[in-house]
C-alpha cells in the first residue's frame, strides 16, 4: 500500500451534543510528523480523538486515517493505529500477559520480541496483576499494547498525565525511538506543553470545539510575539483580530500579537507605538488563546 501524504485528513468534521459542538474541523497531520493536539479542558480533544478512532459517529464530515476512509474501513484503519489513553483499563484480564495475549490476536504485525523489550524497558513484569499496577504503570502498559504491533500512526491521548519526570522521559524516549525506526506518525494530546514544544514538529490548538491554529510548530509559535506598546484605547471599539491582551495599565499595554492577523496593524494605525517585542513559548501562546472569548479564530 502506498503511504499517504497525510496520516490523518479530516474535513468538516462535526459532532453535535446537546450542550457542545465539535467542529466543523479541518485537520491535516502529515505522515511522519509528531503532531501536538492541544487545548484547554473541555475543548473537544478527546472527542476528536475518539472520532479518529471511529469511537462514535460524527454528525457530518470526512475522516481519512492512514489512507482509509473511517466511514467504510474503520477496522482496517485501526489495524494501523496504536492508541494510548489513561482511560484504557486492562484490569478485566487480571494479568499483564493475559491482556497482551488477547490484544496480540488482533494484530498480524505484533512483534513479541519488541513487546518484551518494551516491558523490560518500562519495568513491567508480564505476570504482574494489572489491578496492583500504579497509575503510571498502567499508562506504560497501554503504551506497550500500542507500540508492540508497530503501527503507522500512534494516537496518544494524555499519555504523560500523572507520570513522574523519569517515567515521562522514558515514554518520550521510546516514542522517539519508535518514530525514528520508520515513517511513523504521532498524534499527541497533552497538557505538558514544555515537553510538546521540544518533542512535536506540528501543532494544532482547539478550543470550544474549534481549531484555532494549526501548522508546523516553528511557524505557529514564531508568528506570535509578546508586544509592549503605548496605546490610548479609550472609546475604541475596533475589531482587533489576532491581538490578545495580557495587561493594560493606563496607556501601557502588553499583548500577544499574531503578526499574520490584521489586529496589530489596526492598533498601529490607531496610534499604537511598539515599545518592545519578544518571542514567546508554546505555553504563552496557549494561555493567551485559551483565555480569550470564544469567537476569535486566528486560524489560517
Amino acid at each position: 500500500m502506498k503511504t499517504p501524504s497525510a496520516a490523518i485528513q479530516v474535513r468538516g468534521l462535526t459532532k453535535v451534543f446537546p450542550s457542545f459542538q465539535l467542529g466543523p474541523l479541518d485537520l491535516t497531520v502529515p505522515t511522519g510528523s509528531i503532531y501536538a493536539f492541544i487545548g484547554p479542558n473541555g475543548a473537544g480533544k478527546t472527542t476528536t480523538i475518539d472520532l479518529l478512532l471511529s469511537m462514535g459517529q460524527p454528525t457530518s464530515g470526512h475522516r481519512e486515517v492512514c489512507g482509509f476512509n473511517l466511514d467504510t474501513s474503520d477496522a482496517e484503519a485501526k489495524r494501523h493505529i496504536g492508541y494510548v489513553s489513561p482511560e484504557l483499563n486492562f484490569a478485566t484480564w487480571g494479568r499483564i500477559d493475559r491482556a497482551l495475549r488477547f490484544i496480540k490476536g488482533f494484530y498480524p504485525t505484533w512483534d513479541d520480541a519488541y513487546c518484551n523489550r518494551l516491558l523490560a524497558a518500562f519495568g513491567l513484569e508480564s505476570t504482574a496483576k494489572i489491578a496492583t499496577l500504579s497509575f503510571g504503570q498502567k499508562i506504560k502498559l497501554s503504551l506497550v499494547t500500542a507500540l508492540a504491533h508497530r503501527p503507522e500512526l500512534l494516537i496518544l491521548d494524555e499519555p504523560t498525565v500523572g507520570l513522574d519526570a523519569v517515567s515521562k522521559r522514558q515514554i518520550f524516549a521510546e516514542l522517539l525511538a519508535a518514530v525514528r525506526e520508520g515513517e511513523r506518525t504521532v498524534f499527541l494530546s497533552s497538557h505538558g506543553l514544555t515537553d510538546l514544544e521540544r518533542f512535536a514538529d506540528h501543532v494544532g490548538m482547539i478550543r470550544g470545539g474549534k481549531l484555532l491554529v494549526e501548522g508546523p510548530m516553528d511557524d505557529v509559535v514564531g508568528r506570535f510575539r509578546m508586544v509592549d506598546f503605548d496605546w490610548d484605547a479609550t472609546g475604541q471599539s475596533a475589531d482587533l483580530e489576532g491581538v490578545f491582551f495580557q495587561q493594560r495599565d493606563s496607556k501601557r499595554c502588553r499583548a500577544l500579537v499574531d503578526h499574520t492577523a490584521p489586529g496589530w496593524r489596526r492598533i498601529q494605525s490607531l496610534g499604537g507605538i511598539e515599545l518592545a517585542s519578544n518571542p514567546v513559548t508554546l505555553e504563552e501562546v496557549f494561555i493567551a488563546l485559551a483565555e480569550q472569548p470564544q469567537s476569535n479564530p486566528t486560524r489560517r
Binding site: 451534543f17 480533544k45 469511537m55 477496522a75 485501526k78 492508541y83 488482533f106 494524555e158 498525565v161 491582551f245
Partner: protein
C-alpha cells in the same frame, strides 16, 4: 468475534462451571419449578457480567481494536444471551439425563427444557435491550431528558432482574398450558430482544449520546480583558472547592446518587406490582428483588468510595450514609407494602419481615465480599442471599420470619454491616477500582 467469545469463556470459566453445576443440580432434582429457579444463574453470566465488565472499561478496549464495531457489538449480544442460553440448555440436559439415570424422573423433560431456553433468551434479551438505554458513565454534558431516560431505564432494568422471579413463577411448564396472553407477552419480549440486538452498538463509547441542535453563542469581538469573576452557578462551586479531579468527582457522586435513586424506585415497584396480583404474594420474588436492590446500591456506593472519602465527612457519618442507602429504600418499600396491604387481602407481616431481612443481609454480604481478595470467593460470598433464597425460600423462610429469631438476626446483621462497612471505609484505598483510572470523566 470468535476471539472475543473464546476470551470471555477463558476468563469466566469458573463462573460458567459453577453456574453449569447449579443448573445441572436443579435439573437432577427433577422438579420443574426448581429447574426454573436455577435459571437465575443465566443473569449473572449474561447482562450483569457484561455490565460489570463495561464499568471496568472492557468495551472501551474492544472499541479500539481493529474489528468492525458491529461484529463486536454482536459478540457482546452473543456473550450476554446466546452463551448463557446454550450453557443452560446443556446443564439442564445433563441434569435431566442424570435424573433419569437415578430414577428421579421417567424421561428427559424436553418441553420444560425448551420453554426454559425460550424463557432465558427472552429474559436476557429484554434485559440487554434495557441495558442499552442506561447512561453508563454519567456524561458531564447530560441533559434533563437524558437523565430522566437513564433513571427510567435504571428502574426498569432493576425491576426486570427481580421481575424474573415473578415471571419465572407465572410462565407455564408445558406448551399447552401457555395462555394466549403469555404468547402475546412472548411475542412482545421477542421484539424487544431483537431491538436490543440492533441497539448493541450503543453500548460502545461515543455511540450512546444523542445528537441534537445546539445553541451557538453570538460572536464577541476581541477587546481588552476584564477581570474574570469565579462562577457560582451550577456545580462550579464544587469544582472550584475540590481541586484536581473535581468534575469527575461531582459526576461520579451524582451518578452514584442516581444509581441509588434508580434502585429505590425499583424497590418501590415491588409492593405496587405485588398488590395488583390476585394470588398470594410470592415472598421468594420479593426477596429476589430486594437482594438485587441491596446488592446494586451497596456495590455502586462501595465502588465509588474514593470519591466519598474525598468529601469532608467523618468515617462514622459516611458509614451511616452507606447504611442509610439500603435501609431507607428498604423502609420505604416495607412502608409501601403496609399501605398497599389495606387494599389487598394478603398477609403482609411475612413480606415486611422478609423485605427487611434480605435488604440488610445483602448489604452485609457485599461488605464481607469486598473484603475477600480472591475474586471467585468474593462472588461466592456475595451470592449468599441467593443461596438462601433458593434453599430456605423453598422450605419455609416465611415461618422463620414470624419466629423470635428474626429480630435478633436483624440486630446482628445491622451491627455486623455497620462494622464491616466501617472497616471497608478505613481500607477503601485498597478497594477502589476506578472505571477510568485517574481521570474519572472523559475530557472533551
Amino acid at each position: 468475534m470468535n476471539r472475543i467469545l473464546t476470551d470471555y469463556l477463558r476468563r469466566w470459566w469458573g463462573l460458567i462451571l459453577l453456574g453449569g453445576l447449579a443448573v445441572t443440580a436443579t435439573a437432577v432434582s427433577g422438579d420443574p419449578k426448581t429447574m426454573r429457579m436455577g435459571l437465575i444463574w443465566a443473569l449473572f453470566a449474561g447482562p450483569l457480567l457484561l455490565a460489570m465488565e463495561h464499568r471496568r472499561g472492557y468495551l472501551r478496549i474492544l472499541a479500539t481494536l481493529p474489528v468492525d464495531l458491529s461484529k463486536t457489538a454482536r459478540a457482546m449480544w452473543g456473550i450476554s444471551i446466546v452463551t448463557p442460553t446454550l450453557l443452560t440448555l446443556a446443564g439442564e440436559l445433563l441434569g435431566s439425563v442424570i435424573a433419569v439415570g437415578f430414577g428421579n424422573r421417567a424421561d428427559v423433560p424436553w418441553e420444560v427444557i425448551l420453554i426454559n431456553a425460550l424463557f432465558v433468551v427472552l429474559w436476557l434479551g429484554s434485559s440487554f435491550c434495557i441495558m442499552t438505554f442506561l447512561p453508563w458513565l454519567g456524561a458531564p454534558n447530560e441533559t434533563v431528558p437524558t437523565t430522566v431516560r437513564g433513571v427510567v431505564a435504571g428502574g426498569l432494568w432493576g425491576f426486570w432482574w427481580g421481575g424474573y422471579m415473578i415471571f419465572a413463577m407465572k410462565i407455564a411448564m408445558r406448551l399447552d398450558e401457555i395462555t394466549t396472553f403469555s404468547w402475546w407477552t412472548v411475542g412482545a419480549l421477542l421484539l424487544v430482544s431483537v431491538w436490543g440486538f440492533s441497539r448493541a452498538k450503543t453500548l460502545f463509547p461515543g455511540w450512546n449520546l444523542p445528537s441534537s441542535p445546539v445553541h451557538r453563542p453570538s460572536p464577541v469581538k476581541t477587546s481588552p480583558p476584564a477581570p474574570s469573576k469565579p462562577s457560582t452557578s451550577g456545580t462550579g462551586w464544587l469544582c472550584s472547592d475540590f481541586g484536581a479531579s473535581q468534575t469527575g468527582m461531582v459526576v461520579s457522586l451524582v451518578s452514584t446518587l442516581r444509581q441509588g435513586l434508580m434502585i429505590t424506585m425499583m424497590m418501590l415497584m415491588i409492593p405496587v406490582i405485588f398488590s395488583f396480583l390476585q394470588r398470594p404474594w410470592e415472598p421468594i420474588g420479593i426477596m429476589g428483588v430486594l437482594s438485587f436492590g441491596g446488592f446494586g446500591i451497596t456495590m455502586g456506593w462501595i465502588t465509588s468510595l474514593r470519591q466519598w472519602r474525598m468529601l469532608p465527612i467523618s468515617t462514622d457519618r459516611l458509614m451511616f450514609i452507606g447504611l442509610a442507602q439500603v435501609w431507607i429504600p428498604t423502609l420505604l418499600s416495607t412502608l409501601a407494602t403496609l399501605v398497599l396491604s389495606a387494599f389487598t387481602a394478603h398477609s403482609i407481616s411475612t413480606v415486611g419481615s422478609l423485605l427487611f431481612f434480605f435488604g440488610v443481609l445483602t448489604q452485609s454480604v457485599v461488605a464481607i465480599g469486598m473484603n475477600v481478595r480472591n475474586p471467585m470467593a468474593r462472588i461466592m460470598v456475595m451470592m449468599v442471599p441467593f443461596y438462601m433464597m433458593m434453599g430456605l425460600g423453598r422450605f419455609g423462610l416465611s415461618h422463620l420470619s414470624q419466629s423470635a429469631i428474626l429480630p435478633y438476626a436483624l440486630l446482628l446483621l445491622f451491627f455486623g454491616s455497620a462494622a464491616l462497612i466501617r472497616h471497608t471505609l478505613k481500607t477503601s484505598s485498597q478497594l477502589y477500582h476506578p472505571v477510568m483510572p485517574g481521570i474519572p470523566t472523559p475530557e472533551r
